[in-house]
Symmetry: C2
Subunit: 290 residues, 2 copies
Amino acid sequence: MERPETVAIVGVGLIGGSIGMALRARGLADLVVGIGRDRERLDEGIRLGAIDVATTDPGQGVKEADVVVVCTPVTRIADDVLAAAESAPEGVLITDAGSTKRGIVEAIERHPHGCASFVGGHPIAGSERKGVEHADQDLFEGRACVLTPTANTPPDRLRRARSFWKMLGCRVIEVSPAEHDEALAMTSHLPHAVAAALAGAVPVETLAMAAGAYRDGTRVAGSDASLWAGIFRENCAPLLRAMAAFRERLADFEAALAGGDDAAIIAWWEAARSRRTCYDSLNRTRAIES
Amino acid sequence: MERPETVAIVGVGLIGGSIGMALRARGLADLVVGIGRDRERLDEGIRLGAIDVATTDPGQGVKEADVVVVCTPVTRIADDVLAAAESAPEGVLITDAGSTKRGIVEAIERHPHGCASFVGGHPIAGSERKGVEHADQDLFEGRACVLTPTANTPPDRLRRARSFWKMLGCRVIEVSPAEHDEALAMTSHLPHAVAAALAGAVPVETLAMAAGAYRDGTRVAGSDASLWAGIFRENCAPLLRAMAAFRERLADFEAALAGGDDAAIIAWWEAARSRRTCYDSLNRTRAIES
């Protein structure tokens, strides 16, 4: 890849901050510009080494950018990408880190400026924590980044987007925006909803008797409410389908349990366990390859 | 506590093996006897330092025991406790590590021998892994051990049981067997069932796009099927109630999502999040106290 001289990051929180830190720590760009709405948070980003300089003026911030990465909440990404496309140099690559893709990509591709410069991205990394104070320069190391090019995506921008995310340590996967949203509804949005339903169901007075299964099963229920409400809304239909599939698995279990059918419970459990084992194997294989 | 000279462990797997290692590593007993059905596994226990000596003859193994800890699957515990009570010296304390308590305690208390020596126990520690090869001498450090005495429990045995589990590093909680089972249905058995339902619902072909929320939310689905089928069966009624409570939380979310009601989703999420925060505070407080 042509190494970008200037990278502008719109939204310097956990994800944007981690991108900035990865770029700066590895010397992958000459200048990292942070763009945000809160001057104090931006100064914190500079102090923590996530960005070199900062501005609350998006037009100003992207003016010299070779690459713009939009890391704002999903409900704001399309607007932020289009605003950046208006002010950035003609050759700019714009990508994003949003957890949903179809609505965002469609909204952007309706505008020629957006369409000419944008490649949808989603690095599958994060945490229940928010804010640049939890950013981590190694957050993307070995993690998947899903790119969602369409028939309208300029090939050279796609090539540069691949190269950009790989530079940060990601392995790149490419699927359509709709495929991304169906898959992520299952692998991320459903697990978040389930974690919160579990956290909401377990009475506070029993928590002294909770341990590992509760702790891990509810961890992401500590995530930011409005951030996740936005993701759920953007990916409503696929998530409702994922919820229905989950409810069916739950109903199978309850029927076997209520019927005292041990063999059915064991078969149900083993089916789940073998899928979980696939996930572990996948990650072991990757660890060996890398 | 009077330090036990001889401790017999019935069932030398992850839990039994960890108890043996904790006793031996800290010099808390003169002799740790392992009792099991598989000679090779017992020899592995000796090799790993979990037990000093081993036998496949339960009557022989408990003959000199001051304390017997039964760590077999919940469906076998009552029988194993009663068998130990028949052969052990008169002054013996028998306790167990079973994940369910009411059925076990009731079955044991029907027999005078069992009733005179037994205190139900449940150290809330473990892992999705099984076998003495995953045992850990620090498994119980700082973890809760729930004791479930009844009106029939001899006070001196209760005192010795408290002391025994504290010696292993546990903080001891005491509730009735029924209270234990209602609480654990919520804090452990429900999270296990939910993890397996989630693992069973997510299609294998999407797993390359899974990350932290999936990984943690399904971790315990890797647990042993027949072990968990036994726990579910033993605690069927409380677990069905917990499942119903969980399904209600899920239905609230789906209704808010389908209705596009962001405010309801945020309120639902915040209620879950604040309960999860209670759990974190509880554990932080404990970390400071210890």
